[in-house]
Amino acid sequence: MTAPDPTDLFRIVYRSRSALPGDAEAVRQAVSALVAASRCRNAQAGVTGALLFAAPHVVQALEGPAAAVEATFDRICCDLRHVDIEVVECGPVLELAFGEGALSHVVPDAADGAMLARPENGIEPADAAAAAMKLMLTLLQLAETGRVAPSRPAA
């Protein structure tokens, strides 16, 4: 992966709901496969980011050159395995906020997942999405300090 050009860094964060069929285990496996495939493609495209999956919610951040991010987001928007896509944040940025991995995969524990689901009742969806993004960032930071074990690509 080439070093990102700081003048052309773009970030998009969206939230969606999984439409994967099957029981919890089947869904978990499907998500793992999806993450693996995305890592591969993102690495080729020079896109980095993170994905948080707390069934059925998905929050994904994509960072990288604007054109590459646009192409990746296009592909994501053609995917019928998730619905209700909602963009939380979108615009040029100066630095990467979600690390330099092709796709960090964050699996929150039950309590974190509940936090994510909770704002559904009563709070504006945009606020809920923003909250989800903050949660994802927090989880990532926690992972770096070693308090939560994120699923990272095998070295």
Binding site: E70, D74, C77, C78, L80, V83, V87, G91
Partner: protein, 785 residues
């Protein structure tokens, strides 16, 4: 003493024999090279060179003969009879001339054979005349049998030699020269062998005999002339060869310039090829020479190819790649004979262009999806296939909501990107056998193959709406559009492509009307509504032409005095079958179709013309539709109507609703200002409903406000309505505007409004709208009361 000499056995001067042979060779060469030049020349030059060649060959034969005779040493005095000697030369020249004349350019074998006989006869004549002219001191005797046999054999050989000389096949032609040589040899040897010289001193040389020493210079002169001719012939031949080489070089350059590949072949073998063919086959220069054609064009029997008929073939290049080509064979006269030339044309560019043209003709250049024409074809094919088996399929029509807005605000470039991205999302929504096409603009259509039922169509529409409804990220900007989808299911909702597409479109209109991002399936009721609307539209067009409209007038009275001060013109349509039609039923349609333009003009002109005949204190009010304000000439139209009718401008009031002010406010205000300046009054109609923004009242100084009848209906019982009406009246009065209350139906309502300070009252309590004659009677009756 008698000595018998035979020519063959007697001693010859060998040097002279060699000289004779030399003269023969030089003479033959000279004759032939000059003849070849004659063949290359044209017109008079050909004749002159041809004649020179004939004379030269005759002279050669003669000179050879003479030198050979001079070489003969019979051992007795010898001499030449001058007349016969000269005659022999003439016979040789003439005979060869006749023979050539007979043979030249002839395909007829008998003529060629005859020419050969003539040649033989002339050579024989030369020989025997020459012998006859040779005088010795003695007698000459002949063996007649030998003479006859040698003559016959040599004549046959001469004839055969010329016969084969004109044959097509080379080995035959090659036999000509030896046959000719054999003929001459047999003639000569036979003639010599048949001659016996007997020395007889009693028979001296006749006095006219010319001594060999005297004839020598003549022969030498002829020989020298022949040598000169041979030099000329050599020169001509050399220059001809150089010319031929130049021509060939030029031809090769020309062939190399040709775009087509060219190969000169000898049967199956390539003799030479041009550069284009080398390029086409990927071989180095000269590498094609000597190759077999079947290596280059496998499967093509070149020899069986009819001439000048194009054949498709495949050329195998150096690296084994196959190139589609077209091959034409032709037989071309090159050099000595006909040769097979193959022209090989590269078809790759043409095939690429053709396939590109097919793609362009049947696909949409922007998205790469099939275009309208292709979709129609696909649909027709599918409809036919499914019609037989009564199998189901669906046509979905869709367009983007808010696409125009995106296009207008972000520019066409981004609009195009949006369409491309939309095409990808639509493709993602489809089943594996479904087809999506772009019909034009933001219109797309989908052919759903074999849906299991209406639910499957609904599911596809839902997927489409979901995918297109997702945000689009285009050059850093988020763009939100949506899709509305209408569907028609075959066979229930139509069978033909035209019906299905139209019905899907109708369903799409319904979907859009019901709210964006919706899906509707075709419903026959939609069609009947559309039909009804269509027939009403046709009727309306006819009505405008036939002037089936009339104006009714509803009086406005002064709230205090009760006198009629004005009348509102209201258009009515007297339909020949359906009777009087209310404006509510046709004005919206007229506005939608643009027919409001001519209709509005008619209303304006008629109202002005009729009001011009009313008492001068009664003004006329005419309603203007927002659509009429889109016409920039509205102010001029109004002035023209006033001028035509002679109605004073201040007797005309134009009523507008706030809808007029909603669109393009600047232009509307400018038009209103111009109308106002002309002296026309402007009223705000239906005030109190809609936005009723007070800023309208500030922006434009209306002459009059008409309070909407919905407030009046509840009067005077409803306290809130009463308050509102009073407030509007106060507001208008303070702004210096006249207030009219519409829809006053009861005496109580009239009393309330009058008491509230309203200026004018309009409604059924005063009068319903009346035809113009009744209105005038009403005015008269009212005045009289």
């Amino acid at each position: 003493m008698r000595s018998v000499y035979t020519c063959l056995t007697e001693a010859h001067d060998h040097r002279l024999i060699l000289l004779a042979a030399g003269i023969c060779i030089v003479g033959v060469y000279g004759s032939f090279s000059v003849a070849a030049h004659a063949a290359r020349s044209e017109g008079r030059a050909a004749w002159i060179w041809g004649a020179a060649s004939v004379v030269a060959s005759g002279c050669t034969a003669w000179a050879t003969h003479m030198v050979a005779l001079l070489a003969f040493r019979p051992g007795m005095d010898a001499g030449f009879e001058p007349t016969l000697t000269a005659l022999s030369l003439l016979v040789a020249v003439g005979g060869i001339g006749i023979s050539i004349g007979l043979a030249i350019g002839q395909r007829d074998r008998i003529r060629r054979f005859a020419a050969g006989l003539a040649l033989g006869a002339s050579v024989a004549a030369l020989h025997y005349l020459g012998e006859a002219s040779y005088l010795v001191t003695g007698s000459v005797t002949w063996d007649p049998v030998l003479v006859a046999v040698s003559l016959a054999v040599s004549l046959l050989l001469f004839g055969t030699a010329l016969l084969v000389a004109g044959e097509r096949r080379r080995p035959w032609r090659r036999a000509a020269a030896p046959l000719l040589l054999a003929g001459i040899a047999i003639l000569h040897v036979g003639g010599m062998a048949a001659m016996t010289l007997v020395f007889d001193p009693e028979r001296p040389l006749p006095p006219q005999a010319v001594a060999p020493e005297a004839i020598g210079p003549v022969v030498a002169g002829v020989s020298l002339a022949l040598l000169t001719l041979a030099m000329v012939g050599l020169r001509l031949t050399l220059s001809a060869r150089a010319q031929a080489r130049r021509d060939q070089e030029r031809l090769r350059e020309l062939a190399n310039l040709a775009v087509e590949g060219l190969a000169v072949c000898d049967g199956e073998m390539i003799k030479t090829a041009n550069r284009s063919l080398e390029r086409l086959s990927g071989l180095a220069a000269g590498a094609l020479d000597g190759r077999r054609l079947s290596d280059l064009l496998p499967g093509l029997a070149v020899t069986a190819l009819p001439e000048r008929e194009e054949r498709e073939a495949e050329l195998v290049g150096a690296d084994g790649q196959r190139v589609p080509v077209r091959v034409v064979r032709s037989e071309v006269p090159l050099g000595s004979g006909l040769q097979t030339v193959l022209a090989i044309r590269d078809q790759r560019e043409r095939l690429r262009t053709e396939s590109r043209m097919r793609i362009l003709a049947y696909s949409d250049a922007l998205t790469g999806l099939p275009n309208r024409a292709r979709f129609h074809d696909l649909l027709a094919g599918h409809a036919e296939a499914c019609g037989a088996g009564n199998r189901a399929f669906a046509v979905l029509a869709l367009d983007l909501d808010r696409f125009k807005l995106v296009n207008d605000t972000l520019g066409h470039g981004l609009g195009d990107v949006l369409l491309r991205k939309t095409a990808r999302r639509l493709t993602a929504a489809l089943g594996p056998r479904d087809v999506v096409a772009r019909l034009g603009g933001d219109e797309f259509a989908v052919l759903q193959v074999a849906p299991t039922g209406p639910e499957a169509v609904q599911a596809l529409a839902t997927r489409i709406i979901e995918l297109v409804g997702r945000p689009f990220l285009i050059e850093g900007q988020l763009v939100n559009v949506g899709a509305s989808v209408g569907a028609a299911l075959a066979p229930a909702d139509g069978l033909t492509p035209g019906d299905l597409l139209r019905n899907a479109d109708l369903a799409l209109y319904k979907a859009k009307a019901d709210g964006k991002g919706a899906f509707r399936r075709f419903d026959p009721a939609l069609e009947s509504r559309v039909q009804a609307r269509r027939s009403l539209e046709a009727d309306l067009r006819r009505a405008i032409v036939l002037q089936e409209f009339e104006l009714h007038y509803q009086p406005l009275v002064d709230a205090r005095s009760g006198r009629i001060t004005a009348a509102e013109a209201l258009v009515r349509w007297r339909h020949p079958e359906r009777g009087l039609i209310s404006p509510a039923d046709f004005i919206p349609l007229a506005e939608e179709t643009g027919l409001i333009g001519p209709l509005g003009q008619w209303v304006l002109r008629t109202a002005c013309a009729q009001a011009a005949r009313w008492p001068a204190r009664i003004r006329v009010a005419v309603n203007l539709s927002p659509v009429q304000f889109r016409d920039l000439r509205l102010a001029e139209t109004v002035k023209a109507a006033l001028a035509a009718s002679g109605l004073a401008a201040d007797r005309l009031e134009l009523e507008i609703t706030e809808g007029v002010l909603l669109a393009d406010e600047e232009r509307t205000l400018a038009t209103l200002t111009r109308l106002r300046a002309a002296g026309v009054g402007i009223s705000m109609d239906d005030f109190g409903t809609g936005y009723s923004s007070l800023s309208y009242l500030r922006r434009f100084p209306f002459d009059k406000i008409k309070v909407d009848q919905s407030f009046v209906r509840q009067l005077p019982g409803d306290a809130e309505s009463a308050t509102i009406v009073r407030a509007i009246i106060t507001l208008g009065t303070c702004l210096g505007m006249t207030i009219t209350v519409e829809g006053v139906e009861t005496a109580e309502q009239f009393a309330f409004t009058a008491a509230s300070g309203c200026d004018q009252v309009q409604g059924y309590h005063v009068s319903r709208p009346l035809p113009v004659a009744e209105f005038l009677s009403f005015v008269d009756a009212h005045e009289a009361a």
